[in-house]
Amino acid sequence: MSEKEVKNLEEIFEARIARDEKIEPKDWMPEKYRQTHIRQMSQHAHSEIIGMLPEGNWITRAPSLRRKAALLAKVQDEAGHGLYLYSACETLGISRDELYEQLHSGKAKYSSIFNYPTVTWADMGAIGWLVDGAAIINQVPLCNTSFGPYARAMVRVCKEESFHQRQGFEIMLTLCNGSEEQKAMAQDALNRWWWPSLMMLGPTDAESIHTEQSMKWKLKRKSNDELRQQFIDQTVPQADLLGLTIPDPDMKFNEATGHYDFGEINWDEFWQVVKGHGPCNKERMNARVSAWENGEWVRDAAMAYAEKKVNKEIAKAS
């Protein structure tokens, strides 16, 4: 294809997106659109898969059968969400194995929030309430994104995710209505998860290198700062309801703007965690890689068994 032809195709492509048309896997697309989608969708899928680990930590120690069943269902949903997203990603011509390889080698990233430890049961509450709350705010606009398979996966994810946040809030509420120690446990979890949850919505607009292009492709519909403000405005009244204090002395409702003003985010910490120096980066990757490697013989055995069954049927037929 000549340069002129590519340019022409690109113009047609941009015009389709501007008209809110969806792009499907076999349609012509600029290479950068394909790469950007692989990057973002796989990062999202990896986050779901790694995201199971901090919560998996508490399944066997959930305080009641009700809580255990809910937590199991939530973690199972996360596996499911990872699978929807990997499948959507594979429609762009990258294999599942390549995607895993990128995760395991550290070439692909996952959400930095999962590199924090879950030290008490209250962390299950804080994760559902705050981390899933922030994730929903991030994900709802994606139901409308330009790449069809991604948008369809996100519709399913968002439908399932609202139970995640509600079960988390319920855990917090129960703790806050409990003993002094239980309430202190809830406050401690909020203190530890608040700032990482704000960071989870991504670097500030000024620092975000992908935002402009992603907005143009409708891969992103609101900027990181807008999403963060929306999250804060929605969450602060919920903390009040719980009787908990947001660990930010600068947090104050601004009558003039109608939004909450908030303090400086420690972006050094964010970049440290992204670069691999968070409290649990190594632990998470080790858990993931060893699960994959230790499961290899099971995958191979299942494949061998399926082939054996096919061969038997062929032998019977002949």
């Binding site: 076999k26 199972q76 599942r96």
Partner: protein, 97 residues
């Protein structure tokens, strides 16, 4: 036989959400064979009673049209307006036809 380098094939999943409706494409997944694909589809796509029937088809068995040929494939239908009821002029007195 050496299976170690073999990846599980990709399957497309179609789910009928209730009787009376058609099966609709829900997504895809990896499985060693049709039986496992059905079981995995149950867990991945119908955790909240989304279906009463599942079809799985190995993705390599699907032949898809190429959007780059959409011109030859679909444009011939565009100049055949006489296939639509509104092409025909009827007097207003004929209300429902």
């Amino acid at each position: 036989m050496d299976n170690t380098k073999k990846n599980w094939p990709l399957w497309e999943v179609f789910v009928r959400s209730k009787n009376g409706l058609e099966h609709r494409h829900f997504g895809s997944l990896h499985a060693t064979d049709a039986e496992m694909a059905l079981e995995n589809a149950r867990d991945v796509y119908t955790r909240r009673s989304e279906g009463v029937s599942i079809w799985v088809v190995e993705s390599k068995n699907i032949t898809a049209s190429n959007p780059q040929n959409n011109g030859e494939l679909f444009e011939p239908a565009q100049d055949k307006v006489y296939r639509h009821p509104t092409f025909y002029n009827l007097p207003d007195e004929v209300k429902h036809m």
